[in-house]
Symmetry: C2
């Protein structure tokens, strides 16, 4: 039986093996992804992101237990930028998720990005498709950090949850990093800490300002409007809920799960889910275009050729921009010769 068939039939070992191939950017991974693609599109894709130390792992542990009680099969990807320091920290996370071990209805995997091309965002998208094809009802992607890569990854989810702590500093930083813009649900965890009401009202204000800006005819909004028109969807507004939780005691996790289900219903009933699928697939398609094109170029240009270019750049006889243009001309001249 092929690896793809094994994955679709629910073989966990085959799934783990395929994830490793994707993580290592193995040459066989495109073949697997092509094969599983038509089995995707059933799972609810959930992104959970937030600034460090807010208790994401504990929160996910509680949320996952609730999801399992309702009978959902659950795939969980923890996205981990490659780091030689991180082994201990990941072990710590897995300890915080110990309640989930040994449950056949749940699959947990930490993903590092070893392949440079396309990066974390592209590796994550591929891994999500595998879990989707393997029949998990909900796929949660957990990201560490609040940088641009996290925004990129989270914007590929159908429902994005941003987790914060009480304290204005962190909320301001989250706003600054652009992470609030992609939130469908905001969680203030550790809400037994002081300042929770202040944080909540600050966030409410930020989100309202954000929504106002979003509907004021920005370029992005115009594109969204265009797509909505084409897809004939109802663009009725989802008001981002702010949920307070104490993940360690389980307080508020029920609310979170409810809102998660409500958001999924909302995007399905308004057709918003089609727009999100469309934009997710477009991102995958474009990232594949870039990757495959660059691979072709790399095959054409030898390492020696690149090193020679760099030498000339280092000597300041040329600059990296002109050198790149010349490289591409060289590529053009020799392109067809290598094709059939």
């Amino acid at each position: 039986m092929s690896l793809t068939k094994q994955i679709i039939s629910g073989d966990r070992r085959a799934l783990a093996q395929a994830l490793t191939l994707i993580e290592n950017d193995d040459h066989s991974s495109q073949h697997i992804l092509t094969d599983v693609y038509r089995h995707t599109g059933c799972a609810h894709l959930i992104g959970i992101t937030g600034i460090p130390g807010v208790g994401k792992s504990t929160l996910i542990n509680s949320l996952a237990k609730l999801m399992r009680k309702s009978g959902d099969k659950l795939g969980l990807l923890a996205i981990d930028p490659s780091s030689q320091f991180s082994q201990g920290a990941i072990l710590g996370d897995r300890i915080r998720m110990k309640d989930l071990l040994g449950d056949e209805g749940i699959f947990i995997r930490s993903m590092a990005s070893r392949g440079v091309l396309g990066g974390l965002s592209s590796t994550t998208a591929a891994a999500v498709d595998l879990l989707d094809a393997a029949g998990f009802d909900r796929v949660i992607v957990e990201t560490v950090g609040v940088g641009q890569s996290e925004v990129d990854i989270a914007s590929n989810a159908q429902t994005s949850i941003v987790v914060l702590c009480p304290g204005l500093g962190d909320s301001i930083q989250a706003a600054k990093s652009g992470i609030l813009e992609i939130a469908d649900i905001i969680v203030i965890n550790k809400s037994d800490y002081p300042e929770v009401n202040l944080t909540k009202s600050y966030l409410r204000e930020m989100i309202d300002i954000g929504s106002a800006a979003q509907t004021s005819g920005s370029e992005t909004q115009n594109i969204i409007d265009d797509i909505n028109e084409k897809l004939d969807t109802d663009s009725s507004i989802w008001e981002v809920p702010i949920i307070t939780t104490v993940a360690t005691t389980g307080e508020g996790i029920g609310d979170l799960f409810e809102q998660l289900l409500a958001h999924y219903e909302h995007i399905k009933s308004t057709g918003e889910i089609i727009r999100r699928r469309h934009s997710r697939l477009r991102a995958i398609f474009e990232s594949q275009l870039r990757k495959q094109l660059y691979t072709k170029l790399s095959q054409m240009l030898s390492e020696d050729y690149c090193l020679r270019q760099l030498e000339v750049i280092m000597e300041r006889e040329t600059d990296p921009y002109t050198a790149a243009t010349n490289c591409i001309k060289h590529f053009e001249t020799n392109y067809i010769g290598d094709e059939d």
Copy 2:
């Protein structure tokens, strides 16, 4: 006088104008970058990054005042992922840096990344080159967050400073995000808070483990060794100092400045600076290759063609991976026809 000549002669208005062109990925920006390139290579490139809320702006304010006292001209780039929410936060930062306003020897600029291709990392590299060519002795790049993009940006600096706060949670998260790996100097700010010694000894341990791992023949180390061999440099070790500061009172900022100078001397005397320049230029060169190649592809493939591909993908008649391969074949077939 051309814009480039104005920039090199120290015209601040011309510099600001060129930075805007780069930020907007204007078609003229490659021309400017090509022109200024041979005037670069003099500035000390410093990256300052760290998890949110650690007081980076206040720290940079204090550090910049000290640098100005020693007579250095200073360019400062605050890298800001595009966000409609962030205006207020940036204003807050500028208030924390109010001591620096009105000083002709300092140039402050917030950069957002509007161009998608190459992203923040590529925009930042270009902006740094402009400030370098404009004659600033030190160029500081401040990044928000601890994600992969921040690691990418920071790894392009000659001296990377990572700022943390007392508290183990944050340090673990920083380790997890891979940001410690790129640190040349670590700062524990707000060191009047408790837990500072615990944090310090934890970080010391993490860094020592990291160095041990680095010298144990990893693939990256092999590449570094190769380059070192080729460049005939001395790879004598820099022991990452951990400096405690209270940015609000200025405590420890003198130590930080001293270590910054010591590190710059170290990389110059060991030849490490050549390796860093080489790897920075290689990153710029490769990112330009990708960008220019993708631009060519985009010019070839019409928006209609792409939308048709996406329709077929949405209908699951094909998958994004195969569609990309077909697109590139289509590109190949039509490529030469458009060239002279």
